[in-house]
Amino acid sequence: MKVLKYIIIVLMILNPNLSIAQSENLQNKITKNLRCLICQGQSVYDSDSQFANSLKVLVEQKLSDGLSEKQIYNYLKDRYGEWILYDTEFNKNTYFLWLLPILMFIIGGAIIFKLFILKKN
């Protein structure tokens, strides 16, 4: 992984276009994670509604202002609520959301494991 990072850094120095491409990628990544609030189950990136287009411009602006991905999410979260973020955060509201499936997996594993223990006794 480290090697890869260095390669990217070297490439960025050699090729200024790449950094533009990178920020475009970041903008796409961010808008893919935002819900288009007036659409039905579409991300801002995928939608062509007025709302989505204005958000795309906004994200581009914030990126050029030097805000990080995280800062932009927080900014939009304050304005529109958590509903706008497709990438669900891990916080007190969502502990169960993230941990319950994992718990189910562990329980399932335990049940199967128990079948083998039973067999031995």
Partner: protein, 625 residues
Amino acid sequence: MASLIGSFALVFGLCLSIFIIFFSIKNFKDNNILDKKVVSLTFLQFFFVLISFFGLIISFVNSDFSNETVFNHSHTTIPIFYKISGAWGNHEGSLLLWLLVLTLFLFLFISTSKKQAKQYRILTLLFQQIIIIGFFIFLIKTSNPFNYIFPVPNEGLGLNPILQDPALAIHPPILYLGYVGSSIIFSSALSAASLSYISKGWAKHIKQWVLISWIFLTLGILLGSIWAYYELGWGGFWFWDPVENVSLMPWLALTTLLHCILVLEKRLALTSWVVILSIATFALSMCGTFLVRSGILNSIHTFANDPERGLFILIFLFILIFLSIAVFFFFHKNENQNIKNLFWLSKETSILVNNWFMMYFLSVVLIGTIYPIFLEVFSSEKISVGPPFYHSLIIPFLIPFLIAMAFAPRLKWIKSKIEDKIQMIIFFVISFFISLLIVKNFDIDFLLNTILITSAFYLFFITLKDFFSKRIGNLAQNLAHFGFSLLILSILFNNIFSKEVITNLKIGETFISEDFKINFENVDKKNEKNFKAIIGKFNIENIDGNIEVLNPELRIYNQPNIITSEADIKTNLLTDKFITMNVVQNQDYFNVRYQVKPFMIWIWISVILISFGGLISILKKKYEN
């Protein structure tokens, strides 16, 4: 007139339920032959619902706007094909279709289960009648498709343009065949559990129904995905939207059941688990209907937001779940438990592991879908659970799952050992190097992608090898597993290699990128009966100088007045070229989205292969009999 007949036919159909129940209870104990009356009444009930359904279709074809459903969902200018499909493209009509399939399947069940014990058949019929009565009442009371309006309007309100599409015309019936098929499995499992009828023979018999529902559910989901891909205009085929998830959940449960029932068929073990899964599959199908119909989920499938309907389904669902739990705990005796002599390396264990992972995937989808609803109810906070949640919880678990899928079918029942160890390792190493070569050229998460593609390739090669070697035991399974590896590979490559350009173009302008030139040559106009279209002509020049012409459309529908954007897609075996254009208000340019999507067609082909595996399994059973 047609509406009137349809409406009466529904009431007759409901009344027949009383007779069916009466005669079957009478017949339950008196002798060993199933009363012919019960069979003919079951057919008659199906026949009445069929008449009712035709009544609705005829009303739609004749644009009989005295019928409220027709008025709300049709228009004189719609092509005849969409007038007909409009009959089930709405809440009332789609429930009538549910009922039609319910009665059809019950009739098929009764007439094809002659080899089974009479009491079991009758009890299954009774459970099925409870569901049928529930749907009759729901239909007549809260969503009657034959409501009359007076004075009769001259023109209808029209059908939502995005529903005017061939794939979407057949998507609901196919999906419903799958959903409703699970009701037979549910009734049959409950009846078998309460009569202690669960045996290897029963497993063999019910497996047919599991396979049939599974094939239809798979194809139904596929059709929905294909439709979303070309109609919604963003080139995706799965967005982990709640309505997509509710169709995936019964599919996951059914797939689990399909594997688990093998253990029952061969070893007479896991009986309780089979019953639980049968109940769960149907409960999830009903849950899906409830969530979609109640308007809780915000989506295109929400035809009408009527809380009364949601409440009815919710109560009905609770009654059914309560009933099944009661039957399970009071009547089901868990007699045969020869799972005790379980060896760690055997087919049984591998199926248990399959069930374990499938249940995990199911719980991810289930919790991801319903958690936001509960959170909103209890804390009034609204969160979105989107693709990143599902991806991060499902993808890592997919890796061991894929590898297990490759070698598990080679294991034998009871006790087994791994054969051809060296060969298996060689295949793994080959897969690893291939994926390394692919991944290293792209700026993506290196480690995860390499391992994921390795495991998918591993399954791909192993199933391919098993297909060509003589030791192939089970063609159906081999094909389905191969299809799954192809599906995962196509999705991964589609994700990694996709290219996309979003730009604003005026007529005559050209967009130039490294790999292609997009020339917006001109626009054309076309007038159809129910819409006007603006057709763009785009010349795409590829890097090799090859020019392709794509014609995306903007359609302005007159009834209702909606603008839709129709993608133009050029498909070949390697990639799809996908283009859409959109109007930008008060501007003279169009917003153009051009995508190159590799292996798109292989996603569809692999799902068809998977369901083909199911079909072969059914045919093989027929042949053996």
